[in-house]
Amino acid sequence: MIEASEQQQEWPFLRVSLLVVSAFLLLELVGTEVDRRINPSPSSLALTTKCLRNEKRLVVETGAIDPIGKTADGGVARTRIEGNGVTIVIASSEAKAKKIAGYYSAVSGGPEDAIQLWKHDVLVWEGSPSPTQQQTVYDCYY
């Protein structure tokens, strides 16, 4: 009997809680949609650049300096990690990135692993990248 009466006391709290959490979820759905329309998500280039500068403390320049990079619709970031220069070319799709990687491979005179394709990003390294150099870029990959 004590158990039953305890549970009767508890149900109103559970009911209110169900309503509150449901309302929060509904608000979340509506709010997310409104936020997406008002504040579009920062681009991959903006996020990558911000991360390399602020978290990895690297000097980062943006903008392509070669004709292939200029075709990338997601932008280009350039930096130097542990002495190895890298150009991060961002495309809007994996297919476009694959195409760009192909162009770089055709003209590249560098080592075999100097051009890497990561989904919609193409990484063009001056020399063979070490695991820590790759990790640094990966940490800032969006």
Partner: protein, 465 residues
């Protein structure tokens, strides 16, 4: 009159089933944890290299790392135990002796499961299914299974947090506040602070629960006040040498660093900015994000592409996807060997995890909020609920504080793993809500439990390394 024995025997057989299910869940937790301890690479977890080198340095040279040598700001509690376990592994001739440090976490996970059952028994005696549901939630949540399989101090913090909730709940429920139990509680909350800084918010939640009970129940004010003083004194005395060490060496007694320092900034490399340039940079707090950063659910990405690289790092999406899946690529994918790189099939599995986590998360939040409201509104009669109800609140507050004061552009400072010490209390919230719905609407409850069993099995399979 004839119905009484039927009811009694029905309840008894229901109790037997519930007991067997509890045993099955505990054995499953133990088996998965033991398997993960040896199947998951010791070097694969969050900051594993730093944790392993800390443990070696501590037990081999009896030293604590200095600034710039990894987790110098983390207290040595876990490393002492895990370092000892590693030595035992060495003595046993294991090729990777660190696996015993992971096994230690597996044992702590089972211990936490038992403590969770103890708390439920104290709070809700006679409810057969609530312990099964709460334990089931704890066993199926990947953030617990993942972290328990790693060489990491957080499972010990979770164990001590759960033990402190059990002791505080017993203290308040019994109402006698014997000094011996208060000392034990002080020892546990003090020890928790010697494992991770999370121990501090565990301490705060327990103190708040004791203060709440003291205020709500005037008839026990004197013994409750005495117990509170004992818990505060012992709880501060135990970790005080560590706080003094951090203060004297690094000028911050808790974090050993200020919010102007990023948590895991790499050593300046060739091509990095020079010191004068660094000094001219805006401090990391300048990265302070807009409100939407903390409130946005990141939909639909949290359910369609729940991993870094595709889903922008925001507070709720990272917490959620890291709790149910693997946002950072530390468990089922990632660049480090032997984990595979992200692929469409891995993304599908992570997306499935986000979906199976939705209903349990909803129920855990509903149950926790209901317990919190019940504990506050009926504090005089139900003050024993305070510790369980306040722990998740303290955890969320601490994670929010850490994420907003130690901003990391990739979301590294708001991992779901930071909530781990409060996961058992959230699991109790889940059990409370599900059991309440089941009793109120048995048919709906049956459908709900069927759905939850499917979610549980899918999620548990993801938590097996």
């Amino acid at each position: 009159m004839a119905k009484a024995p039927d009811l009694a025997s029905g309840r008894s057989s229901e109790g037997t089933i519930a007991l067997w299910l509890t045993v099955v869940l505990l054995v499953t937790l133990g088996a998965v944890s033991a398997h993960n301890a040896f199947a998951y690479p010791a070097a694969g977890g969050y900051d594993a290299a730093e944790h392993i080198s800390y443990a070696h340095l501590l037990v081999d040279k009896w030293e604590i790392p200095k600034q710039g040598e990894g987790d110098y700001y983390t207290p040595p509690g876990y490393y002492l135990l895990a370092g000892g376990a590693t030595r035992l592994g060495d003595a046993l001739g294991l090729s990777e002796p660190e696996h015993l440090g992971q096994l230690l976490n597996g044992l702590l996970a089972v211990g936490t499961g038992l403590l969770l059952l103890g708390i439920v028994r104290l709070l809700f005696p006679g409810r057969l299914w609530l312990p099964v549901l709460a334990l089931g939630a704890f066993v199926m949540v990947p953030v617990a299974l993942k972290t328990d399989g790693m060489f990491h101090p957080q499972p010990l913090a979770m164990f001590l947090a759960t033990l402190s909730v059990l002791l505080a709940t017993r203290l308040v429920r019994d109402g006698h506040y014997p000094w011996g139990q208060a000392v034990a509680l002080g020892l546990v909350v003090g020890s928790a602070q010697l494992v991770r800084s999370a121990g501090l918010w565990v301490f705060a939640a327990i103190l708040l629960a004791l203060v709440g009970a003291l205020v709500a129940q005037p008839e026990v004010r004197r013994p409750a006040a005495r117990a509170l003083v004992i818990v505060v004194a012992v709880g501060l005395l135990i970790p005080s040498p560590w706080y003094a060490y951090l203060q004297s060496n690094y000028g911050n007694p808790v974090f050993g660093r200020t919010s102007a320092e990023l948590p895991s900034g790499p050593a300046p490399a060739t091509g990095s900015i020079s010191s004068p340039q660094l000094a001219s940079l805006a401090p990391p707090l300048a990265l302070a994000q807009p409100l939407s950063y903390y409130t946005s659910g990141g939909l639909p990405g949290s359910f369609t592409e729940p991993h870094r690289g595709a889903l922008a790092p925001r507070f709720l999406p990272v917490l959620y996807t890291e709790t149910w899946g693997d946002y950072f690529g530390i468990w089922s994918w990632g660049v480090a060997t032997p984990r595979p790189e992200m692929s469409p099939s891995i993304n599908r599995r992570l997306a499935l995890q986000s979906f199976v986590g939705a209903v349990p998360t909803f129920l855990a939040l509903v149950g926790w909020l209901a317990l919190l409201m019940l504990a506050v509104a009926r504090a005089r009669e139900r003050a024993e609920l305070l510790a369980v109800a306040l722990m998740p609140l303290a955890a969320l507050g601490a994670v929010f504080y850490y994420a907003s004061h130690y901003v990391s552009p990739d979301g590294d400072t708001m991992k779901g793993m930071f909530l781990l010490p409060a996961i058992p209390c959230l699991a109790i919230g889940f059990g409370f809500a599900t059991d309440g719905i089941r009793r109120r609407a048995p048919r709906l409850g049956l459908v709900l439990i069927g759905l939850l069993v499917v979610c549980g099995v899918v999620s548990l399979s993801y938590g097996i390394a």
